[in-house]
């Protein structure tokens, strides 16, 4: 059902946990299956230095949130904003169709975090 990459990110997730004084936090939940993800980012000079995640959800949910935090590290906010659910799924060598909503959640949580950062750092 799941690719080796998904299983790897499920068994060995990267960047798990909370963040001390995050610059932006994004939270997304899927009312259908109950998955919840929270992504926290640290931004310096418009670049995402650090990203951490917390996830309540299935294997795909954990893998996609882990992957999204890996994808954003070192990227500018503009580059990070372009990360799509497809990009997350592709980075994981694909997800079963029924699980694509998980990658959607991860991308949305990230964009939410970026928005949150922008709200608090206007001007």
């Amino acid at each position: 059902m799941y690719s080796d990459k998904v299983m790897d990110h499920f068994e060995n997730p990267r960047n798990v946990g909370g963040m001390d004084k995050p610059d932006g936090i994004g939270k997304q939940g899927n009312p259908v299956c109950g998955d919840v993800m929270e992504i926290a980012i640290k931004v310096k000079n418009n670049v995402i230095e650090e990203a951490k995640f917390k996830t309540f959800g299935c294997c795909a949910a954990i893998a996609t949130s882990s992957m999204v935090t890996e994808l954003v590290k070192g990227k500018s906010l503009e580059e990070a904003e372009l990360i799509s659910k497809q990009a997350v799924a592709d980075a994981l060598d694909g997800l079963p169709p029924a699980k694509m909503h998980c990658s959607n959640l991860a991308a949305d949580a990230l964009h939410d975090a970026i928005l949150d950062y922008k709200e608090h750092h206007k001007g």
């Binding site: 068994e11 997730p13 259908v32 996830t55 309540f56 959800g57 299935c58 795909a60």
Partner: protein, 388 residues
């Protein structure tokens, strides 16, 4: 040469392996007894004999009359014929159906479809242990009710319903009583006469017979119309050439299961106790759904807040342990377990539930393997969810 990884099967409520004695009983049916029971010649007569002996065996095991036993393709089919067939034979003044919120989808989906056809359908709720609220059942069952259906044992929690009391409610309102005994047959003693049951469904693959055979008991005098049409097999109730190997296997399997009821109950109850006390000792904030009600021996349903059921299942599977869950993502269903929700569990908690179901071949070694793998898995996944 790599050794085959040891696997432990804890999903007996989903399906069971076919026991050697059952295979032995059915093999001749795959060999020389291939005749069609409807044929006049000797091949047919031999097959017909096997069919009728099996029928008599099953009847005796639930204290029914031989001609009250009908063979179907599965438990779902039996449930469909019982509900839709009985409603179909009813007249418009008395055609209502009352059932419960915790039934298997074979009952609930059929009820849903009947409702779209204009049949009055009502669902009785359950308490926090998934026992049906008899007072609610009584309120819902009225003069226009033709059939009340309450499952004997729940597939997710194992909880046993007081079907004698439910049958009394049905009969008092002049309605018939059906029970889905798919999970209880071979685990609880069933006496359809003493328990006043009008119709009852059973399934072979839950009792160590192959998939593909079910039974529907219909008490003499209960009008039921068939849902499919063709020959006169099973007195027209379920036409189609009889699955002789499956039927012979079913009868043998039920015979063995009933003979072993007490021994099995003792053994499986002990295994569940070992599992549940072990889980409680090692993992905090867990609760067992239905534990304070009477359960068929061998089923344990546990909610572990903070982790998703599917994620737990995968981790267990990687360690060679097969279990089940009612969480939405894993079953492909959109909603979390309707049984747990009906019991009052919040959807998120229902999402965090696992079902371990034991049976033939389950061992202490298997339980200990669960106890070895589950606590660290929960710890790991809880640290990932971080309180979300």
């Amino acid at each position: 040469m790599t050794a085959e990884k040891i696997r432990y099967y804890f999903d007996h409520n989903a399906t069971t392996e076919v026991r050697p004695e059952v295979i032995e009983a059915m093999l001749p049916c795959l060999g020389k007894f291939y005749g069609n029971p409807s044929s006049v010649h000797s091949f047919g007569r031999d097959a017909r004999n096997l069919l009728e002996v099996s029928r008599e065996t099953v009847a005796k095991l639930i204290n029914a009359d031989t001609d009250e036993i009908f063979f179907t393709g599965c438990g779902t089919e039996s449930d469909n014929i019982a509900l839709a067939g009985c409603i179909s034979a009813a007249d418009n003044t008395k055609n209502g159906l009352v059932t419960t919120k915790v039934e298997h989808s074979a009952i609930l989906k059929t009820a849903e479809v009947l409702k779209t056809r204009g049949i009055p359908v009502a669902l009785a709720g359950v308490d926090g242990s998934s026992r049906i609220r008899l007072d609610e059942l009584k309120t819902l069952t009225g003069g226009n009710t033709i059939l009340v259906s309450v499952m004997h044992a729940n597939n997710e929690t194992g909880v046993v319903q007081d079907i004698q009391a439910a049958a009394a409610v049905a009969h008092e309102a002049g309605a018939f009583f059906h029970t889905d005994a798919v999970q209880s047959a071979g685990k609880k003693v069933i006496d359809v006469k003493a328990m006043n049951i009008d119709m009852l469904s059973m399934s072979g693959h839950k009792i160590n017979a192959p998939k593909g055979t079910g039974v529907l008991y219909i008490k003499k005098g209960v009008p039921v119309k068939p849902l499919t049409f063709g020959g006169s097999h099973e007195r027209g109730i379920r036409p189609g050439t009889e699955n002789i190997p499956g039927i012979v296997a079913f009868a043998r399997a039920l015979e063995i299961a009933v003979a072993e009821i007490n021994g099995k109950k003792e053994k499986l109850s002990a295994l569940v106790r070992r599992l549940e006390s072990g889980i409680e000792a090692e993992i905090d904030n867990v609760y067992f759904n239905g534990r304070d009600a009477e359960r068929i021996a061998g089923t344990s349903n546990v909610s572990i807040p903070g982790v998703d059921g599917e994620a737990l299942l995968f981790s267990l599977d990687m360690a060679g342990i097969a279990a089940s869950t009612g969480s939405a993502c894993s079953t492909g269903e959109v909603e979390p377990s309707h049984v747990l929700v009906a019991m009052g569990r919040e959807p998120k908690v229902a999402q965090s539930s696992l079902r371990f179901s034991m049976g033939y071949g389950s061992t202490e070694e298997g339980v200990d393997k669960i106890l070895e793998v589950l606590p660290p898995t929960v710890k790991r996944l809880r640290s990932i969810s971080g309180g979300l």
